[in-house]
C-alpha cells in the first residue's frame, strides 16, 4: 500500500464512492473469457453443488448436482464441466505463431535459439472471488489423479473419460494464478480492487456484490450504503437479496431452501426405485424430475446474480484503456499455456502432488521475478501508480535544467554526460545509486552523482540532482541524437530496474544435492487410493 492508495481509500470512505487506484487496466482481458461461477455444498470440502459457466453473457450453461453427496452425480457434473471447459481450452491450442526461444543444446551445451510454436491466444478463466480460485485448485487436485475405465479397467469407480484431463488443466490454471501479474485465471474481486479503492477492508472486498456497489454508485448516491445492503439485506423469508459470490452458500439458503429440496429429491428417487409397475414409475419419475427442476431453479437463482455481477465487473474494467505492458505479461501466459499444451500432448503424467525441491525453487524464483516485473511495469504504465512510488522515495520526476557533456576514462573515452534534474520529490538516493528512465521503451541507466550545490539537498522539498548517464547512447564518441536528455525535458526516473534479470540455473532434479535430501524418488505417482469417504 502506498500513500496514494491510502488517500484513495480515505476519499472513498469520505464520499461513499470508489476512487480509482489506476488510470489504465493492468491485466489482460480476453475477448472471450470463460466465466465460471461455482457453488459448493456445506459440510463436505469441495463437493460441488452446481455452477454457471460459459463465454456468452446471456446464455450460461447451468450445471447442477441435485444430491451433492452422490458420487455418480458428482462425476456426471465433472463430466459436463469437462465438456464445457476442455473444448474452450482446446479451441486455443491449434492457432499458433512462430516464436523464438533460447534453449540449451543437449549436444554442445551452448545456448541456441530455436524456433517453436507459441499459441496466438490463450484461454482465460474468470471466477467471482479468490475463494473461487481455491475451488478451481481443489477441483484440479481431486480429479487429476482419477483413473478412467480406459486407463485402468479394474478401477472400482472409474471417472468419465475426460475428467482427469480437466483436473490437469484446472491444476495448471490454479498454479499459474499464483504468478504475480498472470491472467490465465483471475478473480473478479482481485481485478476490481486492483483498479478501485473503496472504504472497505480487504476482507470485505472479497464480497463481489459489495465491491461493485461501491464502484457502480451513481452520482450523488452512496456506494457505502449500497454495499451494506448488498452484504446484509434479506427478504421477508430471510434470504439474502444479493447472494454471496460463493463458492460457499448462505446458511439460511442451505437450511430453509436447499436442504428441504434435496430431501424431496431423495424421497422421489427412493420412491422411483421402489415403483412396482410402469404406471407408478412414470408418475414417480415425473415427481423426481420436478424435484430436480426445483433444485436447478434454486442453484440458478443463487448463481445468476453473481454471474451478472462478474460481467458488470468486466464492463467496469473495460472502461479503462489497456495498459501497454500488460500485453507483455499476457505473452508469458501464452507461453505457459503453450508449454502445458505440449506436456499434455506428449503424454506426460499429471502434475505431482508435491513439488520437488528444484521445481519449488524454480517456481518461487519465477514468482519473485514476475512480482518485481509487475511492480515496475505497473508504475511505468500508470502515472497514478508511479506517483505512489515517487511518494515512497522510489522514483522522482523533474525537469532537466542543465546538461554538461563529459567523458568516461579509458583509452577510447565514452560519453558520460552529466544531467542536472530539478525535482520536488524526495528520492532515497545515496551516492552511486543507479536510476533508470524509459527511453523508447528501453531503460536508460544513470548514476546519482551528487546534489547540485545551489539546488538544495532534497530535505526541504526541492532539490537539484546531478546524474551521470551511463548507456544507450550508441557506440560512437558522440552520443546518438535524442539519447541524451535536454534542458527543459520533463523526465521520470526510477530507483528500481525496469527489466528483471534471469536467476541462476538450478541443478536438474536428479542432481538435487545432499543438503536438500538428494534426488527425489523417480517412480511415478500412484492414483489417489479409494477411501471410505469416496463411497459415502
Amino acid at each position: 500500500m502506498t500513500l496514494t492508495d491510502d488517500l484513495a481509500r480515505l476519499e472513498a470512505t469520505a464520499t461513499g464512492r470508489a476512487r480509482p487506484r489506476a488510470t489504465v487496466r493492468h491485466r489482460h482481458l480476453s475477448e472471450r473469457p470463460l466465466v465460471f461461477v461455482p457453488l459448493t455444498t456445506a459440510g463436505e470440502a469441495g463437493a460441488p453443488l452446481g455452477a454457471l459457466i460459459g463465454t456468452e453473457r446471456t446464455s450460461p450453461r447451468l450445471l447442477v448436482v441435485p444430491q451433492p453427496r452422490d458420487r455418480d452425480l458428482r462425476f456426471a457434473f465433472l463430466a459436463q464441466l469437462a465438456d464445457t471447459v476442455l473444448p474452450y481450452v482446446e479451441s486455443y491450442a491449434d492457432d499458433v505463431e512462430a516464436a523464438e526461444r533460447t534453449e540449451t543444446d543437449p549436444e554442445t551445451g551452448k545456448r541456441v535459439k530455436v524456433e517453436v510454436d507459441l499459441c496466438a491466444d490463450a484461454p482465460q478463466l474468470i471466477v467471482p472471488s479468490r475463494a473461487g480460485i481455491e475451488f478451481v485448485r481443489l477441483l484440479g487436485r481431486s480429479t487429476r489423479f482419477r483413473r478412467t475405465a480406459e486407463q485402468d479397467p479394474d478401477t472400482p469407480h472409474p471417472a468419465p473419460p475426460r475428467v482427469p484431463l480437466l483436473g490437469r488443466w484446472l491444476t495448471h490454471f490454479g498454479e499459474r494464478a499464483r504468478v504475480p501479474g498472470s491472467a490465465l485465471l483471475l478473480a473478479m474481486t482481485d481485478l476490481l480492487s486492483r483498479h478501485w479503492a473503496t472504504g472497505q477492508s480487504s476482507l470485505e472486498e472479497q464480497h463481489l456484490g459489495a465491491l461493485l456497489a461501491w464502484i457502480e454508485a451513481p452520482a450523488g448516491g452512496s456506494g457505502a450504503e449500497a454495499a451494506l445492503r448488498a452484504e446484509l439485506a434479506r427478504d421477508a423469508a430471510g434470504q439474502l437479496l444479493c447472494p454471496p459470490a460463493g463458492p460457499a452458500t448462505d446458511p439460511a439458503f442451505d437450511n430453509d431452501l436447499l436442504a428441504p429440496a434435496v430431501e424431496r429429491y431423495d424421497r422421489a428417487r427412493t420412491a422411483l426405485a421402489a415403483a412396482e409397475d410402469g404406471l407408478a414409475a412414470d408418475a414417480r419419475l415425473a415427481e423426481l424430475t420436478a424435484a430436480e427442476r426445483e433444485i436447478r431453479a434454486l442453484v440458478e437463482s443463487r448463481t445468476r446474480p453473481t454471474w451478472d455481477a462478474v460481467w458488470r465487473g468486466l464492463d467496469a474494467l473495460c472502461t479503462l484503456p489497456a495498459a501497454e505492458r500488460a500485453e507483455d505479461r499476457w505473452r508469458s501466459d501464452r507461453w505457459s499455456f503453450t508449454a502445458h499444451r505440449d506436456r499434455v500432448a506428449a503424454g506426460e503424467p499429471p502434475q505431482p502432488r508435491r513439488d520437488d525441491a528444484v521445481t519449488a525453487a524454480q517456481k518461487l524464483a519465477t514468482r519473485e521475478r514476475e512480482q518485481a516485473r509487475l511492480d515496475a511495469q505497473e508504475a511505468l504504465d500508470d502515472p497514478l501508480v508511479m506517483a505512489g512510488r515517487r511518494l515512497r522515495g522510489e522514483a522522482f520526476a523533474g525537469e532537466v535544467t542543465q546538461v554538461v557533456m563529459a567523458y568516461g576514462e579509458g583509452r577510447s573515452p565514452r560519453p558520460r554526460p552529466l544531467v542536472t534534474v530539478r525535482t520536488a520529490d524526495r528520492p532515497h538516493l545515496d551516492e552511486g545509486v543507479k536510476v533508470y528512465r524509459s527511453l523508447g521503451g528501453k531503460p536508460q541507466a544513470a548514476q546519482f552523482v551528487t546534489y547540485a550545490a545551489d539546488g538544495g539537498d532534497g530535505r526541504d522539498g526541492g532539490a537539484a540532482l546531478v546524474l551521470r548517464i551511463l548507456d544507450k547512447m550508441g557506440r560512437g564518441k558522440e552520443p546518438e541524437p535524442g539519447s541524451v536528455p535536454e534542458a527543459g525535458d520533463r523526465l521520470c526516473w526510477t530507483l528500481f530496474e525496469h527489466e528483471q534479470r534471469g536467476g541462476p540455473k538450478l541443478p536438474d532434479p536428479e542432481d538435487t544435492p545432499w543438503t536438500h535430501g538428494g534426488p527425489p524418488d523417480a517412480t511415478a505417482e500412484s492414483p489417489d487410493p479409494v477411501t471410505a469417504e469416496d463411497t459415502l
Binding site: D355, V358, A361, L364, R367, G432, P504, T515, H516
Partner: protein
C-alpha cells in the same frame, strides 16, 4: 537444537569466558577438519566472534591443504572477510570472485598483494581460499567442486540459495545467528510450508531437516554485548540457548564530560550510561510511520550524545576512547523512518552517524545505539513489526548502551494484538515468538523509562 550445556548459573565466579569460547572453537574446528559428517552447523549469538571463527577455520583448512570456497550473503560481507583474512595472514593466496557490475568490490582489496580478483571462477582455481557471494556462486558452472566450503550468515540465506550452490562443495561449515532476521520471499510461498525443502525457509532449516545427524555447535560468549545487555538479549531472543557476555559488569564504562541539562534526552542518556539501557517515552499517540516528534527526539538524543563529550572505557584499550560520531548508530524498522532521521540529524548539523534499518545493520557493531522502537505510535502490531529478528538486531548492536525512543502504550498494544500467525503443519514453531520477545524487552526497558513531553 543440540542442548549444549549452558554455563552453570550456580557458579558464576567460576565461568571463564575466554576458556569457554576456546573450548567451543576447538570442538568446531575438530568436527570441521577431522569429523566424518558432511556438514557442521554453528549458532552464534550477536558479537560472539563468528567472523573470527570463520577466518580461523579458513586458515586452518588452507593450512591442511584443503581447497576452500567461502559463501557470504552480501558483497560487503565478502570484502570484509577478505580484508580480515589478509590482515591475519598476508601470505595466504585468496581469490575474490566478483560480479561484472561496475564497482563490484571494495577498492581496498586492490592494495592486497595476495588477493586475486576475477569475474570467472576458473581464473581463481588453485588458490587456497576463494570468497564470493551466494548470488555469484550460484552462476558458477563447469568447475571442479571444492572439497570444503564455509557458508557464512547461513541463517540469512534462503533454502533455494543453498540449492543453487550446494553442488559446488563436498562438505561445509555453516555459521550464522539464528536470532537475526529470517530470510523472506516477495512472492507467495505458502504452498511449500511444511516441506523439508521449502525454498523460502532458511538454508539451515532445510539442511537440518534432511540431515538431522549433523553436529551442531554454539558459541557461548558475546564479546560485543556488555554485561548489562547480554542477559536480556539472551533471555528474550535465545531462551533455550543462553549465552554470556565476555566482560563483567565493571569492565566497561560510558562517561560524559558535560553534565546533564535536565532535559529528557540528557536524562535518558545518563540512564543508559549508568545501566546500559534507556527508554525515552513520548506521550501515547497514533502517528504516521515517520512520527515527526519521535524522529526529532531520536535526533536530539544523538546530538546530545556527541555534544556531551562522551568517553568509553573498555577492555579494548588502556586509555578511555572518545565517543565519536562513527561509533554511534541509529536503527529503525523502515527505510522512510531512516530517511526522516537522517534529515533531522542533518538539520541539527550531525553527520557521519550511521542511520539504517535493521536489515542493513545486521552484523555491525557500535558503542552506543539509538533505536526507534518498531511499535512506536502504531495502531496495530503486524507480523513485520513483531518479527523477533528485527528487534533482536536493533537491541544487540551496541558495546556500551542502547537508547530506545518510543511512544507510550506498547504494552497495551501488545495486549490488543495477540500473535495470530497461522499454524502450518510440519513447520517447526519458532521460539520465542515476536510477541513474547517484545513483551520481555518491553518489561526490561520499562525499568529504565524516562518520560518526556517534547
Amino acid at each position: 537444537m543440540t542442548p549444549a550445556p549452558p554455563a552453570s548459573p550456580a557458579a558464576p565466579a567460576a565461568f571463564d569466558p575466554a576458556a569457554a569460547a576456546a573450548r567451543a572453537t576447538d570442538a568446531i574446528l575438530r568436527d570441521t577438519l577431522h569429523g566424518t559428517h558432511r556438514g557442521v552447523v554453528v549458532d552464534s549469538p550477536p558479537g560472539a566472534g563468528k567472523s573470527t571463527l570463520v577466518v580461523r577455520a579458513a586458515r586452518e583448512l588452507a593450512a591442511a591443504g584443503r581447497p576452500l570456497m567461502v559463501v557470504a550473503q552480501t558483497n560487503a560481507q565478502v570484502d570484509d572477510l577478505v580484508l580480515r583474512l589478509a590482515e591475519k595472514d598476508p601470505e595466504l593466496p585468496v581469490g575474490r570472485l566478483h560480479s561484472s557490475d561496475s564497482d563490484p568490490y571494495d577498492k581496498a582489496l586492490d592494495a592486497l598483494a595476495n588477493v586475486r580478483k576475477s569475474t570467472k571462477a576458473a581464473d581463481l582455481a588453485g588458490l587456497d581460499v576463494v570468497v564470493s557471494t551466494a548470488a555469484k556462486w550460484a552462476h558458477v558452472r563447469g568447475v571442479e567442486p571444492w572439497g570444503h566450503a564455509i557458508v557464512d550468515e547461513a541463517y540469512q540465506m534462503r533454502s533455494d540459495g543453498l540449492l543453487a550452490v550446494a553442488g559446488l562443495f563436498e562438505r561445509a561449515l555453516f555459521v550464522g545467528d539464528p536470532g537475526q532476521l529470517d530470510p523472506f520471499a516477495i512472492a507467495e510461498a505458502e504452498q511449500w510450508a511444511g516441506l523439508a525443502y521449502d525454498p523460502s525457509a532458511s538454508a539451515v532449516s532445510t539442511l537440518l531437516a534432511h540431515n538431522p545427524e549433523l553436529p551442531q555447535h554454539r558459541l557461548p560468549v558475546s564479546w560485543r554485548l556488555p554485561a548489562s545487555a547480554a542477559p536480556l538479549v539472551s533471555d528474550a531472543f535465545y531462551p533455550f540457548t543462553p549465552f554470556r557476555s565476555g566482560t563483567g559488569p565493571g569492565d566497561r564504562a560510558l562517561d560524559f564530560g558535560v553534565p546533564s541539562d535536565g532535559s529528557g534526552p540528557d536524562r535518558v542518556i545518563d540512564e543508559a550510561a549508568a545501566t546500559g539501557w534507556g527508554l525515552l517515552e513520548l506521550p501515547a499517540r497514533h502517528t504516521p510511520r515517520t512520527d515527526p516528534e519521535a524522529v526529532r527526539a531520536v535526533a536530539l538524543v544523538v546530538r546530545r550524545l556527541l555534544d556531551r563529550g562522551g568517553v568509553t572505557t573498555s577492555e579494548r584499550s588502556a586509555e578511555p576512547a572518545p565517543l565519536t560520531a562513527d561509533r554511534v548508530a541509529v536503527g529503525t524498522a523502515h527505510r522512510d523512518q531512516a530517511a526522516a532521521v537522517r534529515a533531522a540529524l542533518a538539520g541539527l548539523g550531525v553527520v557521519d552517524v550511521t542511520v539504517d534499518t535493521a536489515n542493513r545493520l545486521q552484523g555491525r557493531e557500535y558503542d552506543v545505539t539509538v533505536v526507534l522502537h518498531p511499535l512506536s505510535g502504531r495502531p496495530d502490531a503486524t507480523a513485520f513489526h513483531l518479527e523477533t529478528g528485527r528487534l533482536c538486531v536493533l537491541a544487540s548492536r551496541h558495546r556500551h548502551a542502547c537508547v530506545v525512543v518510543c511512544r507510550a502504550g506498547v504494552d497495551a498494544l501488545l495486549d490488543d494484538h495477540p500473535d495470530t500467525e497461522p499454524v502450518q503443519l510440519g513447520v517447526t514453531v519458532k521460539f520465542p515468538d515476536g510477541w513474547d520477545a517484545m513483551m520481555t524487552t518491553w518489561d526490561h526497558l520499562s525499568a529504565h523509562r524516562v518520560p518526556w513531553r517534547p
